[in-house]
Symmetry: D2
Subunit: 316 residues, 4 copies
Amino acid sequence: MQPREPGPGRREERTAWGTFANPQAGALNYVTAADRVAAAGSVRHGTVFTLGIGIFDPRGDPLSADRPKAMLMHYRDWSHYQAGRCEPLPGGVASVDDGVFVSSHGTTHIDALGHIIADGVMWDGHDAAEASVRLTWASVAPLGNAGVFGRAVLADVARYRGEDPLDRRHHVTLAELLATLAAQGTEARPGDVVLLRTGSLRRYYESGAEEYFRDYSEPGLSYEPELIDWFADGRISGLGSDTLANELPESPTIDAGYPLHRYLLRNLGVLFHEALWLEDLAAHCAADHRWEGLYIAAPLKIIGGSASPVNPLFVK
Amino acid sequence: MQPREPGPGRREERTAWGTFANPQAGALNYVTAADRVAAAGSVRHGTVFTLGIGIFDPRGDPLSADRPKAMLMHYRDWSHYQAGRCEPLPGGVASVDDGVFVSSHGTTHIDALGHIIADGVMWDGHDAAEASVRLTWASVAPLGNAGVFGRAVLADVARYRGEDPLDRRHHVTLAELLATLAAQGTEARPGDVVLLRTGSLRRYYESGAEEYFRDYSEPGLSYEPELIDWFADGRISGLGSDTLANELPESPTIDAGYPLHRYLLRNLGVLFHEALWLEDLAAHCAADHRWEGLYIAAPLKIIGGSASPVNPLFVK
Amino acid sequence: MQPREPGPGRREERTAWGTFANPQAGALNYVTAADRVAAAGSVRHGTVFTLGIGIFDPRGDPLSADRPKAMLMHYRDWSHYQAGRCEPLPGGVASVDDGVFVSSHGTTHIDALGHIIADGVMWDGHDAAEASVRLTWASVAPLGNAGVFGRAVLADVARYRGEDPLDRRHHVTLAELLATLAAQGTEARPGDVVLLRTGSLRRYYESGAEEYFRDYSEPGLSYEPELIDWFADGRISGLGSDTLANELPESPTIDAGYPLHRYLLRNLGVLFHEALWLEDLAAHCAADHRWEGLYIAAPLKIIGGSASPVNPLFVK
Amino acid sequence: MQPREPGPGRREERTAWGTFANPQAGALNYVTAADRVAAAGSVRHGTVFTLGIGIFDPRGDPLSADRPKAMLMHYRDWSHYQAGRCEPLPGGVASVDDGVFVSSHGTTHIDALGHIIADGVMWDGHDAAEASVRLTWASVAPLGNAGVFGRAVLADVARYRGEDPLDRRHHVTLAELLATLAAQGTEARPGDVVLLRTGSLRRYYESGAEEYFRDYSEPGLSYEPELIDWFADGRISGLGSDTLANELPESPTIDAGYPLHRYLLRNLGVLFHEALWLEDLAAHCAADHRWEGLYIAAPLKIIGGSASPVNPLFVK
């Protein structure tokens, strides 16, 4: 499962295409059974952090204006019974029922590997024709079938820099990521999900949507050849952060929009965990000086879907 | 946290109202930090089972006709790019984007404790006025805040009886549940999620929706005073099964529809995990003779919602 | 605006492509200003029939199982005020607010001319690429811009045959259509909308959805070369009926599904008005022996949409 | 059908409650069959104006931020066929299919009479309990059953004042409305829909949503006792305008929000036609000096709905 060298016709980009036993699970293949046992065994205190953000938060939900907001559709609630629109069952049971609409990328979520196309080619070298309408290759369903269960390490860059939140145009370089991990006394291991805290989502809730999206940018990683190699050589299975897009929207290094979605997600099969709530976890980590733990995320098996909302757990 | 005795005005029903430190998390309060550590430590092989069913399964999704089907709304896919409706970003990144509508109780899900009302009263004794429109008490969001992480035990009743699937009007009594657990060499412990396999969901996919919902019934537990006591005294945190409603729709013991939703969920705060896919897990358990493991489910924090779709993990 | 003869490469099909001043309005171009003045002037009694069916009819709405049902999403109603979720404005005004989801072809509607593609070609010879994602050619919006206002004539075939409703596999031939019109003392004129009553929608409400869609068929017209010529030579602007699809689903004359959608709608630009409620109108016509009148329908200007729900008026 | 005098307990407000043969149609009862025949007979040139605005306008759709935007849900389009996701029928027919979600008050629409509640009472004196969840009294469906067909008169206040668009806080008084009508040589007659042009919707499309809704106001009528009497005594059936709310949001005359929704719609049963596109019509009227014509609007029969999108026709 060593990522192979780029071949001719691959534009000299490093990819992990063709290297995985379960290709639609991408870099989740790096997580071994032994890793999972070890991660489970790392749980010492039974303290659970849930990293999903609220849906229908009264302060507003952080999604860009081009995506429809979530809607809760009330099929039946107590007011229906009071108004005589329906009757309790024999025995007295009345029930509240509803449906929910949510933009797949509009709350805490994991991207499908088929979410990104470049040069007409998707993850693992498949033709973009499989991304016409529903994804027939690398939708989020195979990630839901596999489940994410393993070790994660938090790199609290905002705390490391003493700039919390990070400036929204701040470029977290590989060097800074590694320095943060080193300062924490942590390291990333094969199979890990690497979590980056920037303080951005907290800023959203403090400043509001209008302020957040005005002249929009978010701090984060961006393209560096060494960063791509670090993920590939390190067999990193996922990247997560408390931002909406997991990377600087405009790259300071190359003329490209969201390049890591191409070089990490589409090329290497790295799972993107986006819009994570990391504040409470990070405070705890700073207090007990342990920035690693068991991380679990279970995408819904939305067949053909480009992402799934999730509520990941980090257990220490 | 001992469930208190029913008082006057409580209609002699046993409830756990007023007994929990975090009342909106209900019987999840029974799961202690030590339970969580022990459950994590029980992972031996790192084998993960994902118990959610597919959404948009080509064989149809198992939900009753009165609930709207799921919809995948395509905001942007490869055909948009081909048709010239949008352009890749600089650097070549194109992306697929969508939203999803799903009936909260129309796929694998966990019920909010506020899902059920009886006699104008909700979980923990709150007035049903808090179930008018969005739930302002005991919505699914507090369950998402807590997360479900602990031990589960599978009672494979269909295998125990040698009737797979169980007849759809079969009443699984407490005696039969206990006999199944005993035959397996298992027991339910405080904090556990008890999972019941009936074979019903497999029947759905084999027979199709029309057959499944014609003269509809599903096998399962139903009201018995001893069963209620068993859950309360045993401090069971959750009940799950491979059926849509977790109990016999029409009770053979009392004149009531869905009585366990009243006596377990509303009265005791037991979480209901519904429409679980248990076939693969059960086959594995039968092979290795271990019917217990680490169980994780993370409802989305749908503020005000009556349930959340989930994709639970069972790890052995 | 004479429909032109089929040319080479057109597979010898008669089309009206390239013949209209306002091509996206199709056969509505046949309706002249003088026709509109005459139709308005034909109103004698000021009796209005509204031909739309209900949405959320308690007896069920007649749409096929593959289309999602309509949903009414309650943003705010009186129960919100009672529950203290919102407050009336100064001066005491409280308001009820909602949104509606409806399948465009799932209630009384008019098809966009771009609804149908054959051999990769749409109405007026445009390439089907304009039907990728939203319609960029011949969506329903241009029909909404134009509006339908002119003369309609009702051919009450069910009454003419004394078979009401018609057998659901009954083929209404051109000969029978003409015989019906003749027996009524009526004729179709250039610019007319021709309305065909079969009794089918009444059968839906009487028998229910399960019965209606079991071994589904509906009576109606089907492909005959003479019928196509009759529409083209007669400059008929629209075809409507009290069925869901305006034609026999399986053609008794050629090996084709829904051939009139190709030969009339896509080739000639004839507007299809579907799922009309004609029972009350037809009873009135039979009583006063006038089967013609002013017909108005105004599709919503759904830019890119394949149809629009409408509530047509017939005024006598 | 004379509006009755306010009685005790009616807070001295003038209402038309209890005066109509078809109460759920409100002031549409003022339109007589003779009025309809006369309006139809007034059509001289057969020129049709469609007054609905586009849905999914590339410039944005004018709805306030608290209402969800419209969505077009693609069930099937040409890209599905190209991607091999579905096959044309025998005979070659392929089809595009979709559904549409729209906020009922978020495009050109007619309010249900049950849209407004004051002091716990709805139109015609019904208790607000009938506005819990779906409207069971005075929803938009009865207006759809009746249909709007009659005379309308346009009062082009923006042109009259030479201020186009009107300042967004401009109060159009009854005196100014009457002066406009007089200057045009027009009058309002019993049964009429009175249309007021302010230029506001054009401003929306010219300035964009952010500018339009910043410090939001729209010009229009507001509460004056004489205005209420003018509508009641004049038997006006409807009020329409090119604004989103048909009146000044904040009244300059009394301490009330949207008072005309109470005094005209709820009390008198006057239909509110909102967000009409009047620019093209108004230009034509100014050119031919005729500000009256046949007006038709047909709400969808959304049972229980608080409004319906419409595309009204004005025919001269």
